[in-house]
């Protein structure tokens, strides 16, 4: 799900140790160290920002609400969390991570160079995870100039392989997030009604997720009878006969889940109802096809078969048919007709279908575990 990125993570900031125990986080660290060793590296840097920080959160359970952060993991020294910000915010950061050594920075390149040197890594081979996609290029140039003898090697593929083994916390948190979404759709069913202000309705939907401990909430919706594509919410009064596509994402304890439903305002019209039914059927077909060993293209093909209309499929594909989801809101594997990605057992998949036919529109979607 891609929608407007907020200026700050809005929700609850804490570490639920019952859901994500320290022992499990320690075992993740050991998994990472094994991967570092297998790659022949001396250390890995995990980098992320407020929008994309899954790798960082996996190893540290920390996530930046704004700006960026990094974690340095070596083979034997205690890991170090580096957070963009001033020292006075340090006390509020420590309770969010199990890692004791947390340091603040104003410049990621300067701080990383300093820490690499301090840890005796100024001439080492160091893997990076998340850096290529998110690290600011100018800061990266400054870093490589500051520690010219460090050999940086992207290890995103190695980390993705490691992450294929979902652990107990992954599944427990995914289930919690799914329940929060179900409750939010129940609220939606009561507040999306003729005459309602969309601002007021979406505020209530978001409130339900925030009260359940959401760290972040994302909403996409249709813009009204004349703008029946998905878009960030805008204020309008719902009218009898409107269709509202509601696409929700929620982050609980660093774990994203998403789902989508179509709501008829007042009496549903036959065309919209038919389209919504076809969207749900296509998602059902994708879920049935999403088994371990299947390719992303096979899952997408199931949607095509269920829809039986290449025009509808082309429109649905413009929003994407699905993707992996977890500590990043969009992850591998990709669900698309040309996707060669292979599904593993225990993969969290977000599946969605957006349809438009003339003035009618519909959406269906859910997060599943293969």
């Amino acid at each position: 799900m891609q929608t407007v990125h907020t200026v700050i993570k809005h929700g609850a900031l804490f570490w639920d140790e019952d859901l994500v125990p320290a022992a499990l986080l320690q075992s993740r660290l050991e998994n990472v160290r094994s991967a570092i060793s297998a790659a022949g590296d001396a250390a890995w840097i995990f980098y992320g920002d407020a929008e994309r920080c899954g790798a960082l959160a996996y190893v540290s359970h920390y996530f930046p609400r704004i700006r960026d952060a990094a974690v340095l993991v070596t083979l034997d020294a205690p890991p170090i969390v580096l957070v963009n910000g001033g020292g006075r915010t340090l006390p509020s950061i420590r309770p969010m991570t199990w890692i004791a050594d947390v340091r603040m920075f104003a410049s990621i390149s300067k701080k990383l160079a300093e820490v690499l040197t301090e840890q005796g890594l100024a001439q080492a081979r160091v893997g990076t995870v998340g850096a290529v996609e998110t690290f600011p290029a100018r800061e990266w140039s400054a870093l490589t100039r500051a520690v010219p003898d460090v050999t940086f090697v992207p290890r995103d593929a190695e980390f993705a392989h490691l992450r294929r083994k979902k652990d107990a916390a992954d599944l427990a948190v995914a289930q919690r997030a799914s329940h929060v979404l179900e409750a939010a759709f129940a609220v939606a069913a009561t507040v999306l009604r003729p005459g309602a202000s969309t601002s007021e309705a979406f505020a209530q939907i978001e409130r339900s997720m925030r009260l359940a401990g959401a760290e972040d909430v994302r909403i996409l919706t249709s813009g009204g009878p004349e703008n029946n594509e998905l878009a960030p919410p805008v204020e309008r009064r719902l009218e009898e006969g409107d269709t509202v596509m509601l696409f929700l994402g929620v982050e609980i304890q660093r774990y994203w889940s998403e789902a989508a439903q179509t709501f008829a305002i007042g009496m549903p019209n036959a065309q919209a109802e038919n389209l919504a039914s076809r969207a749900r059927a296509a998602v059902d077909a994708m879920e049935a096809a999403a088994i371990a060993g299947a390719r992303g293209s096979t899952v997408a093909a199931a949607a095509r078969k269920a829809l039986g209309d290449d025009g509808l499929l082309t429109f649905a594909s413009s929003y994407g048919l699905g993707h992996g989801i977890g500590m990043d809101v969009e992850d591998v594997p990709s669900i698309a007709l040309d996707s060669e990605d292979v599904l593993n057992a225990g993969t969290a998949l977000a599946l969605h279908i957006v349809l438009k036919d003339g003035s009618a529109c519909a959406i269906a979607g859910r997060t599943i575990i293969t």
């Binding site: 407007v4 929700g11 407020a50 609400r65 001033g86 020292g87 600011p136 202000s197 601002s199 998905l230």
Partner: protein, 379 residues
């Protein structure tokens, strides 16, 4: 629900902004300006692409602006292009997927006239820079913030609406805060009020404790009797933020808390008095610091006991930037920012007071209307 129509920035105003930017480009001998927006929105940064288009991006976007002709807006994800086309009539909108965006922008530059300049290049990631041949172009990050420093009436109206929403958010905080409520539940209620009034976003920090060292994000902690709740409430309306900083005590405040808060009230009053056109923005910080120093807390007028005495608020220009005593830009009529003498006191902890203002000739106009006082409720 605020029933007024959304505050619109007219196409005429947007075209005027483009004309002024082009005039400055010509002075600097820039024929083509490439403006990048990573869509990672930041409350304390300007969004130059938003300023020139009034389009709030979902994904990374480029605006390629030449001295003549219609600008081109490259929009990702591609499915968001219809929204861009509806909202941006003064530019050609080109949809692009995430992988193709950088090549599309680079291709447009290849067709455009040199010399080039790049705005927003600091936000380009390693991957994006690899795909964008213009990464090494000279940076130009001064023209637009400078031109936008003085807000238009429509921009001020948006900020005023955001301020009105912030007031409502704090009123909810005062109404809902109770012993046993979790901090994040309180934050959720405050934000629900503001979203229902049309807030599109909020930079929200709400924290409670008997002795706060700073404001922070809301945690799972349950509020207790005697808690001092500090709130930095920063809703956005139509992209523009306003900020309200206030303190609420769950129970009768101690005499020392009242005394220290009165120092903040006087510091803010003096800071307002220094916020005049033609003055250096540093005068605001100096005025606030002097009051706190006179109150006996001068040694705490520095980080980590405070951060700054105020700052600009995005998405428009954030000039004058942070309000620090070390010097800053000269204030001009029509600049908007928050003034907040928020301060840690060793005997009471961190207390907050701050308001959004617009600089006017005789005195700043305070857009937030919540009274400047210490709020509390008996428990």
């Amino acid at each position: 629900m605020i029933l007024d129509d959304p505050v619109l920035v007219s196409e005429t105003e947007l075209r005027g902004r483009l004309d002024r930017v082009r005039a400055e480009m010509a002075k600097k001998k820039i024929a083509t300006l490439a403006v990048y927006d990573s869509a990672q929105h930041d409350m304390t940064s300007m969004d130059e692409l938003f300023y020139l288009t009034d389009f709030y991006a979902v994904g990374p976007c480029w605006l390629v602006l030449q001295l003549e002709g219609r600008p081109t807006l490259f929009v990702s994800p591609a499915w968001d292009a219809p929204r861009a086309k509806r909202l941006v009539s003064h530019a050609d909108v080109v949809p692009a997927d995430a992988k193709g965006l950088m090549q599309a922008a680079a291709g447009a530059l290849a067709q455009a006239s040199p010399p080039f300049a790049l705005c927003g290049g600091d936000a380009l990631s390693v991957r994006a820079a690899e795909s964008f041949a213009g990464f090494a172009l000279p940076g130009e990050n001064e023209i637009i913030p400078r031109l936008a420093a003085v807000k238009s009436p429509a921009e001020v109206a948006r900020i005023a609406r955001a301020a009105e929403i912030a007031d409502a958010g704090f009123a909810t905080l005062c109404q809902v805060a109770r012993v046993g409520l979790r901090e994040y539940e309180l934050a959720a209620e405050v934000e629900a009020t503001m979203k229902s009034l049309g807030a599109s976003d909020n930079f929200g920090l709400i924290a409670g404790g008997s002795h706060n060292t700073a404001v922070r994000g809301a945690t799972e902690r349950r509020l207790e009797a005697g808690d001092v709740i500090v709130g930095e409430i920063t809703p956005a309306f139509a992209g523009y933020h306003a900020q309200l900083c206030r303190t609420f005590v769950l129970g009768e405040p101690t005499p020392k808390t009242v005394e220290n808060f009165n120092i903040l009230i006087e510091a803010e009053r003096r800071a307002f008095a220094a916020a005049l056109p033609g003055q250096s923005s540093s005068a605001i910080a100096e005025a606030a610091n002097q009051v706190i120093t006179d109150g006996g807390y001068g040694e705490f007028c520095r980080p980590p006991y405070m951060r700054t005495r105020g700052h600009g608020l995005g998405r428009g220009s954030v000039l004058p930037g942070d309000l620090d005593p070390e010097g800053g830009p000269t204030l001009e009529e029509g600049m908007t920012f928050v003034i907040h003498p928020n301060q840690y006191f060793p005997d009471t902890g961190y207390l907050m007071l701050g308001d959004t203002v617009v600089i006017e000739r005789a005195r700043p106009r305070v857009l937030t209307k919540t009274p400047a006082k210490l709020f509390w409720r008996a428990v």
